[in-house]
Symmetry: C2
Amino acid sequence: MVSVVIIGSGNVACHLTNAFLKTAKVEVKQMFSRKIYKLHPFSNKIPLTDNIENLKKADVYIVCVSDDAISKVSASIFDRKSLVVHTSGSMPMDILKNSGRKGVLYPLQTFSKEKDISFKQIPMCIEAEKEEDYKVLEQIASSISNKIYHISSSQRSKLHVAAVFVNNFTNHMFKIGNDICEKYKLPFDILYPLIEETVSKIQEISPKEAQTGPAKRDDKSTFKNHLKLLDEDQKELYIAITNSIKKTYNKL
Amino acid sequence: MVSVVIIGSGNVACHLTNAFLKTAKVEVKQMFSRKIYKLHPFSNKIPLTDNIENLKKADVYIVCVSDDAISKVSASIFDRKSLVVHTSGSMPMDILKNSGRKGVLYPLQTFSKEKDISFKQIPMCIEAEKEEDYKVLEQIASSISNKIYHISSSQRSKLHVAAVFVNNFTNHMFKIGNDICEKYKLPFDILYPLIEETVSKIQEISPKEAQTGPAKRDDKSTFKNHLKLLDEDQKELYIAITNSIKKTYNKL
């Protein structure tokens, strides 16, 4: 059994804590947030505090705060014997400013308050300074997920920018598709099978091979028709992405 | 039983024909292509021709050729009694230049030669000039899919541009994610669970609500780190899409 204290009240803090509550291998001894009211859903299950000086002793402190706050918050954790880890995809391990041992426990996933999620398939990217700390993080990660990766700070930053493209930017493409459907009173869910297939395809053939459509074909008459239907912002993106696809297939 | 002739040898022609071969409700009487060698996989199953003047009689001619060729090819179909339909998402019905009845049978999906696909969940968007032709197209469409939609030419062009965003542009985001992983020797499949969740999310909450990440948070230090890792083309797209996301969440 590993004991942890969760620092933070955002999506990662809450989803991670919910996952730990389902395993006997990790004990969540406490949660901390200055916005303690956000931790209300846990008030019957876990001791809460909004005073960083009142942190309980634990094997690991898991800092799930915004990137900008990691340094300051970690510097306030005075327990020198414990391991302090952050959960950020884009920040190096040494952003942590506690005086003791450091590490990273990065769940490579997108979390929203409104949507439950199973951790079983989430890649848990771990990093530590010492071999024995890798073991502790493996214990924690494997209690909730089947997929553990050792990923250095340098690798993680690259993985994070790739994740931004495949997740945040992809989601924005869905958002624009949804906007177009709403504007023209079409049901967005008619596009779900196409979206599912887009994702299914790239797990069988590479995304470069999987591409189809007017940009790949350099189909100028379709571009003209499409641009008429888009607002200014959508048009700018359409042109930028179309040109990038055309470059990929030597059409520009 | 409806009899059809398939005109074309591309992805739509081949996948559609394969689907019809599995149902007793549609008989594929013939396939036509000037590039008849491309129809080789069907040579034991279906009569083939590369001479448009030798088309057999059929209830429906399904024109699955590139958008630019639809007018010319359809003008060559001299059978005045039959229904001629195209399968294009972006072209209006009246692009057809046959002298008889016209219609559209648009499978809203992305097709690649290398990947098999089930038609059952593919939205079949149909359009016709006459009520009785809708019935014929419903018969054909329902023989392979459970999802039939009546979609006008004007609606279809809007659906098509939405499809370009959620499919072609999304696939390009995956392609760039893959490129970044290859460049930095990271396994692309570590991103699959994230990609799956991105798609799962928007079927429960709207894409606008589902957005997370540095662009939504206007996280400038992450932008700086990310831009260092990208090549010029990737950088241009990163900035364009990030700005569009920032506008969406009033951060620009």
